[in-house]
Amino acid sequence: MEKNFIIAGFGGQGVLLAGEVLANAFMLAGKHVTWYPSYGAEMRGGTVNCEVVMSDEEVSEVNKSDADFVIALNQASFDKFLSKIKKGGWMIANSTLAREIKTRTDINYLFAPITKLAEDVGNIKMANILALGLLVKASRLVNLETLNQALDTVIPPHRKNLLPLNIKALKIGYEYDLLTV
């Protein structure tokens, strides 16, 4: 089995870091994994994305033509990657910054006010990790505990004070659809 994920948003929203956490989680779960960023004339406020490919075997290819899961943290990312999602795949979108319009009927949508939820957690910068919680729930490809471990791996020693908040954001994201029921 091979699945790929695109995480996209504004520069500064932490999409590369979210991808790094996800990739670490897959590695810790014993999977093969490749992470690579879009890079170029990116800057804070511009759009940026990264792709994570997870596989039970050697990762087959990079620069894939479609994706199983897309996390879009802003409207531009939603518009850019909607058409790239595989039939039956998932669009996980930040409804604080993207309109809830379902133009495609052959994919699953998960709209959540990710930025607002992050503010409620206490730090808007947690939006990226909160979105991973949503992804874990939707994808069922890695568990929350492994993600927590991955956060611990990625967060450097001098930033460890932020670990509890990150774990909380992850949990809020993971439990989001339960909250709305």
């Binding site: 790094e20 590695m27 690579y36 990762v59 087959s60 990079v62 990625v154």
Partner: protein
């Protein structure tokens, strides 16, 4: 970014960091460099780690300075390296030519980006010619190793240091922007090669022995002929002993895809997809670009019906494949000028057009 080396345990790390860490584990004593995307993380990592280990780190004032500082360092018998990318590796060509003539084990990490000229910072394989044919003057070869995964960035960095010292010839690790920026799980391990004794030639101070001189100047024409013969004897030994490649499903293949570096990953998947469609495809991946696996390609050319090289450039390695095949069967090109490699599906559809 994850940069810690936890021995015998996998860590998720970027290609650039993997290369830098491997160089340190290989025993690189001195690093000289000038930053350029997409390989700046190498210098960044070295700037911290080398000082921590009390080894040499110099942020050079230019690439010209960096390559010549590396020449100076390796002439004392220690392992040393520089790293750069495309338009800045162009500035090092004079130094590389000198290092071959001086028979010095310079290690260069070349992380390719778009060209010609300033080009852009996207991945590319446009410096295949630059690395294998060279832009310096005179008759020479650089040993060129092409990794295709982050783990191979580690493995082949070790090998670059070893081969450079073993043959007293510059060695190039030819990566690209995609590999440099990509993160994958890697395992670091102890430098697996024997240490080479440099005491017979290194400039270590002439105390208790006769003075030595390392230079490439040969005022008498005959002497230069003798030197070139000797140099090319060495290249013959390298060509006989150090060729490395990977080969999958080539035994019964009607069509063999030839691809190196990060692009070969997508070519491998394209090969599998062609097989699923009933087309007997195989994959041939040169790991050493010099020495090039001519002999094996020539053998395969007697059995297969067609070669297709897959490259992110306007068609460079295809020329070497054609020379190796020597007209035994057609050699076609599937390419993209610059950027991330074409997807497997794109490669498959282009190959179907060729059939």
């Amino acid at each position: 970014m994850t940069t810690e080396c936890l021995t015998n345990k996998k860590v998720l790390t970027k290609g650039n960091y993997a290369i830098a860490q491997a160089a340190i584990l290989a025993g690189c004593q001195c690093y000289f460099g000038y930053p350029i995307t997409p390989q700046s993380e190498i210098g960044e990592f070295m700037s911290g780690k080398m000082q921590e280990l009390k080894r040499g780190y110099v942020s050079a004032e230019s690439e010209l300075a960096a390559i010549n500082m590396t020449i100076g360092a390796v002439s004392t018998g220690v392992k040393a390296m520089t790293s750069s990318s495309s338009c800045a590796v162009a500035l090092m060509q004079e130094g590389l030519s000198y290092a071959t003539a001086d028979e010095l084990p310079v290690v260069l990490i070349s992380v390719m980006r778009g060209g010609p000229g300033l080009g852009n910072i996207y991945p590319s394989q446009g410096d295949y010619f630059q690395a294998t044919k060279g832009g310096g003057n005179g008759d020479y070869h650089l040993i060129v190793l092409a990794p295709s995964t982050v783990q191979e960035c580690v493995d082949l960095t070790y090998k670059a240091f070893y081969l450079a010292q073993k043959y007293r010839n510059p060695a190039v690790l030819l990566a690209d922007g995609l590999l440099g920026q990509m993160m994958e799980p890697v395992e670091f391990y102890d430098y697996p090669y024997p240490e080479i004794d440099t005491s017979s030639w290194a400039l270590t101070g002439a105390k208790g022995r006769e003075a030595r001189i390392i230079r490439s100047y040969a005022p008498l024409a005959d002497n230069q002929c003798v030197f070139l013969e000797k140099l090319y004897q060495k290249y013959k030994v390298i060509e006989e002993n150090e060729v490395e490649w990977e080969e999958i499903n080539t035994d019964d293949a009607d069509i063999i895809l030839v691809s190196f570096g990060s692009t070969s990953r997508n070519a491998k998947t394209a090969m599998k997809q062609l097989r699923e469609k009933g087309i007997k495809a195989g994959l041939f991946r040169p790991v050493t670009l010099y020495p090039f696996p001519n002999k094996r390609l020539h053998e395969l050319a007697q059995k297969t019906k067609k070669f297709v090289t897959v490259e992110v450039n306007m068609g460079q390695m295809v020329n070497d494949v054609r020379l190796a095949v020597n007209g035994a069967c057609p050699v076609e090109l599937v390419n993209k000028g610059v950027g991330a490699p074409p997807s497997a599906a794109e490669i498959v559809s282009k190959i179907e057009e060729l059939l």
